[in-house]
Point group: C2
């Protein structure tokens, strides 16, 4: 039930439409926190409205409706934020791939690790630009951007460390001859 709390949390920042919320998910939450598509967001907003946790505060052209938190919604959000999470239930396909790399021939593993490091460097560059753009208020976007920056720096450093490990493992077994790639 994290989707509904994610929606409540975004609406706590400012009222928004389903469309805006969908784009905020893509831009801000999807990377490290929570991923959701519009096909899940629109029905959930409907349910939240039925339950009185959000309410429609405006409508525009193209059937656009703007939602805001109700008092009940804010209370539920705060209750959830202060509660102690029971279990994580983390899902991260990139990290899963990295953990399973020993199943590849070392040369291929290195190739994938280089790719992982390069992706991290690119993300760091993008996020370095974003940081500090809006210093006026402490919004969730700033917390997310700083987390992302630190995360991707860690990703790059870990990948370098992992490449060293594969190199060292290769040197310890030089009798196996040059490693054959499967690609």
């Amino acid at each position: 039930m994290s989707l509904r709390h994610a929606l409540l949390g975004l609406l706590a920042d400012h009222p928004a439409s389903g469309y805006e919320l969908t784009r905020t998910f893509e831009a801000s939450l999807a990377q490290h926190a929570w991923h959701a598509r519009h096909s899940q967001i629109y029905p959930e907003l409907g349910k939240l409205a039925d339950e009185g946790l959000v309410t429609v505060v405006g409508s525009g052209s193209r059937n656009r409706r703007t939602y805001d938190l109700t008092e009940d919604g804010r209370a539920e959000l705060q209750r959830w934020l202060l509660s102690v999470p029971d279990s994580a239930g983390v899902r991260n396909e990139s990290v899963l791939r990295m953990f399973l790399l020993p199943a590849l021939p070392p040369d291929d593993a290195r190739t994938v690790l280089e790719r992982f490091a390069a992706e991290g460097r690119e993300k760091v560059e993008v996020l370095s630009g974003i940081r500090g753009l809006d210093e006026s208020s402490l919004a969730f976007g700033q917390l997310a951007a700083e987390f992302g920056l630190r995360y991707f720096r860690m990703q790059v450093e870990w990948a370098h460390w992992a490449i060293e490990q594969f190199d060292a493992a290769g040197e310890q077994a030089p009798d196996r001859g040059p490693q054959q790639s499967t690609v």
Copy 2:
């Protein structure tokens, strides 16, 4: 379809039963990579066996069956590891909570951040002990442990940074008086 690749990846390390795989998920993958329960693992092993990607290589008491990769299974695993992932689809409830903290009164946000930092410190301590225990081979467990160590150090540092931000935001608006907690 990452679950099946996670299973193939674990079996690439060594043959295992559904029960062992379930425990490896809990101990090694669930934290950062992929979470799965036995109720999902057993049926998926059955499907993988039907499709010829894994095979039963032994059975013990209590209906225990040990699975191993087939050649097809290894090929599929390597194909997947070398393919470029399309979209992440990340899910991490702890991080989601942290990003939404601005919805709390600053005092409560700080409390939750302290909790987050403390959790990170504990994990770092545990993982510092694990690291270097099995230096003989480069197994996925070592990649995961090192990633975890670096991740939780980052978590602690980010939490400290975030606490500073909340403190600074509080000082910029001292006219609002002492912040009232909702708890």
